[in-house]
Subunit: 198 residues, 2 copies
């Protein structure tokens, strides 16, 4: 567009490449940057580059860290015999925020999806199996309850059970505070199947 | 949070300061940056700093540019005797995208708001009056149709009319309370066509 200078257009372009940022948001963010104090912008840019440079996967659970082992894996107070398997780091963050889970994690970085051509070798599954060489009591599968998440859960279960490790799946049902009439039929049926005695 | 390294937390913090970015979006964006190729991140950071460094207000209309005069003001094919007054650059962008307006602009960078303590001297009004020393046929007031926008329109009208310049206001085809940048082009054009003298 003629109306912006080359610099602004380039900055809008960069923002628009980020996930969930449309062209209007990108414009809003770029104009905000232009109006920020220059040293704040430099600080932001510096942090971006430094974060990218220093952060990598934890050797153990594949979450992100700037050390060799992430703080969760390095924490001896946590139960290292209980591994929760999640699709991505945001899912790990979601459980971690509850503050009530004291086991460790394993981040798959994806889910098996024949549609998208993602196979078992494209996610951190071999690495999970390798971790079971040490003593593990339970593997909790907390992949999403989407088609891909369920497929992945089934696959992991078949893979791990023969090793002799207990495999569990987080419950799927009506969310707390959820209104029954707003919930889809599959969830309602699953909540029914998974009913527990009171 | 223990779960992220210091670098990621700092990056999330930076993103969360941007307008319209909540804590979850900030997390998503930061994790995306960490997964981008390092040279792409450096390029993004570089563009951010360069844009901030090189972009400033056009001396004439106060939109952003990296030259002394913006491309719109420098364009001799446009009608320099018709000035559209807008609150901010995104509003200018919204009209410019219609591709049908061939006058020039004046960006106020705000609107008069007694509530927020923004007075006539806090926006680029003196600068607008100064531009009227040269021959101008019409000033089109395209401030938002919010309380602040209408107040500003009335103020400008009272200020400019005595100078003997025709002052018009875009039609209220624009929904009351609506933000110019969010409105479709046809409505914007209709509002332009239906402008009335104040």
């Amino acid at each position: 567009m003629e109306l912006y200078s080359g610099y602004i257009n380039k900055l809008i372009e960069q923002f628009a490449k980020l996930p969930g940022i449309g062209s209007k948001s990108a414009q809003r963010l770029a104009l905000h940057i232009i109006n920020m104090p220059p040293d704040h912008v430099e600080h932001f840019a510096h942090i971006m580059v430094e974060a990218r440079k220093n952060v990598h996967y934890c050797k153990n659970c594949f979450t992100l860290t700037d050390k060799e082992i992430c703080p969760i894996c390095a924490n001896l107070k946590r139960d290292h015999k209980m591994i929760m398997v999640v699709e991505n780091i945001r899912d790990l963050a979601a459980y971690e925020k509850t503050g009530k889970y004291d086991g460790v994690y394993h981040v798959l970085h994806g889910a098996i999806s024949p549609m998208l051509g993602v196979g078992p070798n494209d996610i951190k599954l071999k690495e999970l199996v390798k971790r079971l060489e040490e003593e593990v009591d339970e593997v909790i599968i907390a992949t999403n309850s989407s088609l891909e998440g369920e497929t992945t859960a089934m696959y992991i279960s078949k893979l791990i059970k023969p090793i002799g490790v207990k495999v569990t799946r987080i419950a799927s049902g009506v969310p707390v505070g959820g209104d029954l009439e707003c919930i889809d039929e599959i969830t309602l049926l699953r909540a029914l199947e998974g009913r527990t005695e009171l």
